[in-house]
């Protein structure tokens, strides 16, 4: 957009990370995609809790069902213990308290009846477990995706309101990465992760209590493997994190290389670089292969170790517990229960170690998301901003200075008075400040010093909406949206009638070519209007401007690149477009410069000359120099056809 003015001025380069005016933080790796934060970041969590407040009921429901489903699942092996114990001993006192309570209450007696009761309890317990699990997942998804939706909405909303300065400092790619990757990593955590972590913790604690309750001595001996297991997990997690990070980086390098080589095919072929590039790609591909294999070795290596430890624990249970059972000190059911619960240790420990990494990513993601949500809007309406009444279009720059980055002024002390209906052509080299000066009118940027007034109203003292409604902006590369030509022309002026739209298209000479298209105004534009020529795209953006009929028009003329036939149409269209409006034109066409009421020549952020074309030529200053260099021939005198015929 208007950032073009600073390219080459040094503004885009070498800016410090974060920037003095609210840039996004950079991650250390080049890709900016993969970041880890703390496992628990108070700031991020407290921000997220605010969003949870909206879902109070759902959150309580989810938590309750999570607890229920965890407890009911934990209870299941108990029923096996009960069944075996009752068969072995026929002694109801070996049963667990819940079954005992039911026996007592319903007065059930006899092994077969007791077994039937245990079966019924098992079915009921199972149903409750599944039911509560379903409710938990469903409500959690509701909350998680709901929060994600809110976050995306807030990011989008804020990104639209941010002034152009923000976009000068942050590349589109990095902003996109925030919206895609960071939201993704948070999504995972919010939609199911958070509760699962608690469920895992409850399960672990539950198992420990149950084992201790069954037999303290055996429990302590069995759990001797847990510390080893935890240490193994932590060590593994540390290395596997690195391994999987390498996998992600490797594949993103491969993809980037593919993308670059496919889009650069023409250059590569013309420079005969195929072999070198193939070799390079092959190396990257090999790195990716290696990374994947070693990551798999890593995860594959864990399984046997864990299995071994679990086997060890179970072996202890069988040897020690078995001898106890033989000695009659331990019931058979409890022995089986020990085996069942010991096996259940594994899952929560593994889950927790995975969630450890996920939490880190989510915290980092959350932090970066809030950076975007919080990015300060530099240009805001003043609290006492008034509606700008319908204007005549008089513009005044009063001692205006502007800097993108502190102490690096791009515009110095600009004084310029423009009467209603005048066309001002701005001329100068690429980094002279032309784009910046016109961008101050609709407050795309805020002046650093001085003021810009329209009809005597300081642009900072009126609402942005009322200001921008009266200013039309036509950019060098018109931005067309995917949709029909009709939608593109009436964009932002949806109340326009069919007649108004056609009239606007006719005014700029776009009607004829549109009607020649098979579907006329209903022709669907491809991505950014790539199925139209550049000239046609411009005409559509002109029509859009004419339809909105602004009193002030800011126009960044496209450079060349348009074929002659279209050029004629565009020159005529421009005349119609500029008529009756105060127009600020970054001019590249000589015809535009000729027709302008005043040509403003800029150099290094200053106005160096002002006047109409003729005056400036006669002055033989900067304009004359620019002009002769750009348009006239230096090495030979041009021969005009009439003269040629005459000689």
């Amino acid at each position: 957009m208007f950032g073009g003015g600073m390219v080459g001025g040094g503004g885009l380069f070498g800016r410090p990370p974060g920037g003095p005016m609210g840039g996004l933080t950079h991650s250390s790796d080049l890709s900016d995609d993969i970041v880890f934060g703390k496992v628990y970041d108070q700031k991020v969590v407290s921000r997220l809790v605010v969003y949870l407040n909206k879902y109070e009921f759902s959150a309580v429901l989810a938590s309750v069902s999570m607890v229920i489903s965890t407890l009911t699942t934990l209870f299941m092996p108990f029923l096996f213990i009960d069944a075996i114990n009752i068969v072995q001993t026929s002694d109801a006192s070996t049963l667990d308290p819940i079954i005992r309570f039911l026996l007592h209450n319903y007065n059930v007696q006899g092994n077969s009846h007791i077994l039937t009761l245990i079966f019924v309890v098992f079915v009921v317990d199972g149903l409750i477990a599944w039911g509560s699990q379903y409710i938990q997942q469903y409500t959690m998804a509701n909350i998680g995706y709901g929060i994600i939706r809110t976050l995306r909405r807030q990011m989008f909303d804020n990104l639209q309101k941010l002034s152009l300065g923000f976009y000068d400092r942050n590349e589109v790619g990095r902003i996109m990465s925030r919206i895609l990757n960071d939201v993704g990593s948070l999504e995972n955590l919010l939609s199911n992760g958070l509760l699962l972590v608690f469920a895992d913790l409850i399960t672990l604690v539950g198992i420990v209590i149950i084992l201790l309750g069954l037999n303290i001595k055996l429990a302590l001996i069995t759990m001797a493997v847990i510390p080893i297991l935890v240490v193994v997990m932590i060590v593994w997690q540390k290395y596997s994190k690195i391994a999987f990070l390498k996998v992600r980086i490797a594949i993103s390098i491969v993809n980037a290389s593919l993308q670059e080589n496919i889009s650069g095919t023409r250059v590569i072929q013309s420079l005969s670089r195929e072999d070198v590039n193939f070799q390079r790609f092959d190396n990257m591909n090999e790195d990716n292969f290696d990374a994947n294999v070693s990551a798999t070795r890593m995860s594959g290596g864990l399984q046997p170790i864990v299995e071994l430890l679990m086997g060890l624990a179970i072996a202890i249970v069988i040897i020690y517990g078995g001898s106890q059972a033989i000695a009659g000190k331990l019931l058979l059911g409890s022995l089986v229960g020990f085996v069942l619960y010991t096996q259940r240790f594994l899952d929560p420990i593994r889950d927790l170690s995975i969630w450890y990494t996920e939490l880190q990513r989510a915290m980092a993601g959350g932090q970066r998301i809030f950076e975007v949500v919080d990015a300060k809007i530099e240009v805001v309406d003043a609290p006492d901003a008034i509606e700008l009444p319908t204007i005549k279009g008089e513009i005044n720059y009063d001692h205006v200075s502007f800097e993108y980055i502190k102490d690096r002024e791009v515009l110095h002390d600009i004084n310029l008075h423009i009467k209603p209906g005048e066309t001002i052509a701005f001329v100068g080299t690429t980094d002279a400040g032309k784009s910046t000066i016109v961008a101050l009118v609709d407050r795309s940027y805020e002046v650093s010093k001085g003021s810009v007034t329209i009809d005597g109203y300081d642009v900072r003292k009126v609402t942005q909406e009322s200001l921008r409604k009266q200013i039309g902006v036509v950019l060098q590369e018109p931005f067309l949206f995917s949709g029909t030509i009709r939608e593109n022309i009436i964009y932002g002026r949806e109340y326009a009638t069919e007649e108004m739209m056609i009239e606007a298209a006719k005014a700029v000479g776009a009607h004829d070519f549109i009607m020649r298209l098979e579907k006329g105004y209903d022709t669907v534009l491809q991505e950014r209007g790539s199925n139209l020529s550049q000239g046609q795209r411009q005409l559509i953006s002109f029509a859009r401007a004419v339809l909105s009929d602004p009193k002030i028009l800011v126009l960044d003329e496209a450079t060349a690149n348009i074929d002659t036939q279209t050029e004629v149409i565009i020159q005529q269209a421009l005349k119609r477009l500029l008529k009756g409006r105060t127009s600020l034109v970054i001019a590249h066409r000589l015809s535009t410069i000729h027709d302008a009421n005043c040509v403003v020549v800029m150099e290094n952020g200053k106005i160096v000359e002002m006047g109409n074309h003729q005056e400036l030529i006669e002055k033989k200053g900067t304009y004359y120099h620019l002009y002769t260099m750009s348009y006239a021939c230096t090495d030979e005198k041009l021969t005009r056809p009439e003269k040629h015929e005459a000689t």
């Binding site: 005969s272 450079t559 056809p641």
Partner: protein, 292 residues
Amino acid sequence: MTSRAIASGKRIFEVLDTESAVKEKPNAMVLSNVKGDIQFNDVNFSYESTKPGKPPVNILENIKFEAKSGEMVALLGATGSGKTTLVNLVPRFYDVTAGSIKIDDIDIRDVTLASLRRQIGIVQQDSFLFTGTIRDNTSYGVIADEEDIINAARTAHLHDFIITLSDGYDTWVGERGVTLSGGQKQRLAIARTLLIDPRIRILDDSTSSVDTETEFLIQQALRELMKGRTTFVIAQRLQTVKDAQQIFILDKGRIVEQGTHIQLLQDSKIYREIYELQLCAQEEALGVEVKK
């Protein structure tokens, strides 16, 4: 899972099995040290018909001309008239469908692609940068001395800009590096071509996104370097093309007018129209000035 894998497999093999339409002959020879005489002999070109049963439409028809070594050939015409396609045939990005193209009387289909393309330097409409340093991008495709790289950058009027960057020639550009403006990218592509110094040069609208002052400087540099090089120029600006030994105006894939600037001013209505639109006004303005 399985059905998806089978479908993906099919699509992968489609990519693997796609044959390049441009193929080297088994006994292709190496093209070296060309003078740069280029001949187009009744060249036709059409893209393969995408709709079965519908005959392919000729994008280029009966293109016939000869460019002598060291000449500049300029191509003018509306969007879609076939200018870019025409120059794309020289490095064999596409093969002619009828007729032939010869460099120094050798049919370009008889030589290896690598040796052919090594003789040709292209500066495209959309300059493409690779992820890497400015140095890498300038020397892309050749091994070059620091001095040569700097000289090429100087000639392309990029050196002064490069040294303002904190990492100079080691600044990263491309996808995730520093963003260069359109003009800077183009000048980098020009520097690349200068460094390779091929006998045949193709400039595709190469100055369109450069501001007028830079354009002027680049043109001067190019003019200096066009000596002894055969150059194709596609441009919309007459300013760029009027020095050409031959100017072709293309319309719907045919050369409709040809000649030098002065000949065309006399004989060609189209050319005069373009001229009046672009240059005449400027000369008049200057003329007024000159009279005074």
